[in-house]
């Protein structure tokens, strides 16, 4: 495993940073305040392949490795976490399962639209009574002629307000003793596909998170992803990958808040000297820098395993758990270093602080990550 970034990864970072600082930084605070999804920038990002990060070139994607994908999400989130969320969910949990489990016809039909950003994707597992317990999904899919008829309500769907396509997890029957779920590729223009109001959230406000209602929604049987009963398998594989994306997002938020805090600590004068010269502040800065560096190594380790074709689920959970914990801690310290100003919307760290929290919740809470890690350690690790 290469610990120093190669020229390609460095260049990708520089290039995405340049884009984010030029196009996203000027609007990040405003789209957070007004909870606006910035279509024009999203279209630009589409033309630059941000929505086809790992899609093969033949379908119009950038065919990147996972480290590159993490760098892209990290750099966008460093400036605007809500758009980082849109990108990572689209690529990590909407496009990825299609790449992994779709048949050639489905790939041909959907990947070009998704990779170009003309279509935004969503992943829809969570329901009122099914979150961490993903087997408790209540949405149903019943075969009728050449369609499956879907009924149910999905909640907290990232990109839900704008998605053109959603992967919907639904019950398709019962195996002995347990429910059997399957995944359907559902286009937003299907009859009976309805969106709820946008959620009024604490952070990530520029991302249109909403409920989705499926009311006798007919989905062609050809839009079944994988086989009947593959729901759990697809869900778990997708979440492993999605966790890399959320870890990258959390890392980007931490990095952005950290840089803002360092800059502020060097500028802010108290007792006739910059507060960065005070040991207390220096201790904060040292801890932030160290933990961010450790988080980054954990993340790239998971990415490198994935690129090598090795199992990476446990490492993705470790990266997600640690990066999100660091994001919450670092953003909190960044506010602390800013003092009263950090609590004001005038300073970006206030937004970073709000954005960080949810990285400990979605794509598997920190508690679920610990469950995944402990389960792997106890059942698979041999010392």
């Amino acid at each position: 495993m290469q610990l120093n970034p190669c020229t390609k990864h460095k260049l990708i970072r520089d290039s995405v940073r340049n884009f984010a600082e030029t196009e996203l930084a000027p609007i990040a605070a405003e789209i957070d305040r007004t909870a606006t999804f910035p279509r024009p920038v999203i279209e630009k990002m589409g033309r630059l392949n941000y929505f086809g990060l790992q899609v093969p070139k033949e379908f119009g994607g950038a065919a990147m490795d996972s480290v590159s994908m993490a760098i892209v999400v990290e750099e966008i989130s460093r400036v605007c976490a809500a758009i980082g969320l849109c990108v990572t969910v689209h690529n990590g949990v909407a496009v990825y399962p299609i790449l992994q489990f779709a048949n050639p016809e489905q790939m041909k039909a959907y990947l070009p639209k998704l990779a170009s950003g003309k279509w935004i994707g969503a992943f829809s597992l969570t329901e009122a009574n099914a979150g961490s317990d993903s087997a408790s999904v209540e949405t149903t899919a019943v075969k009728k002629n050449s369609d499956y008829i879907l009924n149910g309500t999905k909640i907290f769907v990232t990109n839900g307000g704008v998605c053109d396509l959603a992967l919907i997890f639904a019950l398709t029957g019962f195996e002995p003793g347990k429910p059997q779920s399957s995944v359907f590729i559902v286009e937003s223009n299907y009859a009976g596909f309805l969106r709820g109001e946008l959620e009024d959230l604490c952070g990530m406000r520029a991302n249109p998170v909403s409920s989705l209602f499926l009311e006798d929604c007919p989905v062609p049987a050809s839009n079944l992803l994988g086989k009947i009963g593959d729901g759990m398998k697809i869900g778990l594989a997708t979440l492993d990958n999605g966790r890399i994306g959320i870890a990258a997002q959390a890392l980007g938020i931490a990095q952005g808040a950290f840089e803002a805090a360092v800059k502020y600590a060097k500028e802010r004068q108290q007792f006739k000297k910059p507060i960065a010269s005070l040991q207390t502040i220096q201790n904060y800065i040292a801890d932030m820098a160290t933990e961010i560096a450790a988080a980054r190594l954990l993340l790239y380790n998971a990415c490198a395993l994935k690129d090598a074709g090795a199992p990476f689920g446990c490492e993705a959970s470790m990266a997600k758990l640690y990066c999100s914990t660091v994001a919450s801690k670092v953003t909190s310290l960044a506010v602390q270093i800013h003092g009263g100003y950090g609590y004001s919307k005038e300073y970006d760290v206030e937004r970073y602080f709000r954005d960080a929290k949810v990285t400990e919740i979605y794509e598997g809470t920190s508690e679920i990550q610990r469950l995944v890690i402990a389960r792997t350690v106890l059942s698979q690790w041999i010392f």
């Binding site: 020229t7 520089d14 290039s15 340049n18 392949n49 590159s68």
Partner: protein, 278 residues
């Protein structure tokens, strides 16, 4: 097919860098690099020419191994081939030495060029000399600070902004222009392009020997500028409040400061210098 050569430079990506007190040079190693903004505009101008005419774009830079980054970025944006001139013997080159080396590289690797494009100036040293000096070395018609290019057969028409007026000049190929940052807003490299940039085999690394330059020839013909001293000039500003009726204030202002605003109202610099010495 038009053959375009774009000379680019990697510069540190910060506005303030500490310098090495002994050598008087910037500590470029402390900052990540980026393509000099005006060079990026020059590349964009070349890319727009390529969109309208059949053209092949060669990008050249002289720099440390890390300068590969800006060449790859140029390839990602749409350049066709890249040349990196990299040799310890050439480190610390001034503008004169740089233009001499660029001349050797262009003469050897792309002798049949139609147009050379350079950035009008770099953001790190801002001499604006390499382009014009290269034109002298190659004995080419040249225009600096160009904001618009038009090609009509073998004729190049350029518009440029100098001293607050615009002029349009015509010249025959082969020629050299330095491009300002007025127009030609650089495109972003696509992520697919960035991937592709590393698959392109048209990437050549040249050292001094490849260019027929030896340690002694570099010494005699090389850098002619030496940094004697580097210092930070402290801005000394103070506020003065003039109070009273408008006519009184204006008269008082002119009495006190007329000499200092001399350059603005048209006095010669010499006169000012004379005043200052008094």
């Amino acid at each position: 097919m038009l053959k375009l050569v774009v000379c680019i430079k990697q510069i540190p990506r910060v506005t303030e860098l500490p310098w090495d007190e002994t050598s008087g040079t910037l500590r470029r190693d402390l900052a990540p690099g980026m393509m000099n903004p005006a060079c990026k505009h020059a590349l964009e101008a070349a890319l727009q020419v390529k969109e309208h005419y059949k053209a092949k774009i060669t990008v050249i830079t002289m720099g440390p191994p890390a300068a590969e980054e800006v060449l790859r970025e140029a390839l990602a944006m749409g350049a066709d081939e890249a040349i990196l001139i990299c040799d310890r013997l050439l480190s610390g080159s001034d503008t004169f030495a740089t233009s001499m080396v660029l001349k050797e590289a262009i003469t050897k690797k792309c002798p049949k060029f139609d147009l050379i494009l350079c950035g009008a100036y770099t953001a790190d040293s801002e001499t604006a000399q390499v382009g014009p000096q290269l034109a002298e070395e190659l004995d080419l018609p040249a225009a600096a600070y160009v904001e618009k290019l038009e090609i009509d057969g073998k004729t190049l028409r350029v518009r440029r902004l100098v001293d607050n007026f615009r002029e349009t000049l015509e010249m025959e190929f082969p020629a050299l222009v330095t491009v300002s940052m007025e127009n030609y807003k650089p495109r972003y490299a696509s992520l697919a392009g960035l991937g592709k940039a590393f698959d392109i085999n048209n990437f050549t690394v040249l050292n001094a020997e490849d260019l027929g330059l030896t340690a002694s020839s570099i010494k005699t013909k090389g850098s002619r500028t030496k940094v004697r001293k580097v210092f930070l000039r402290k801005a000394q500003k103070g506020n003065v409040l003039l109070q009273g009726a408008a006519s009184v204030v204006i008269n008082e202002f002119l009495d006190k400061y007329q000499r200092k605003i001399g350059t603005v109202i048209g006095k010669s610099i010499e006169e000012n210098k004379h005043d200052d010495e008094k």
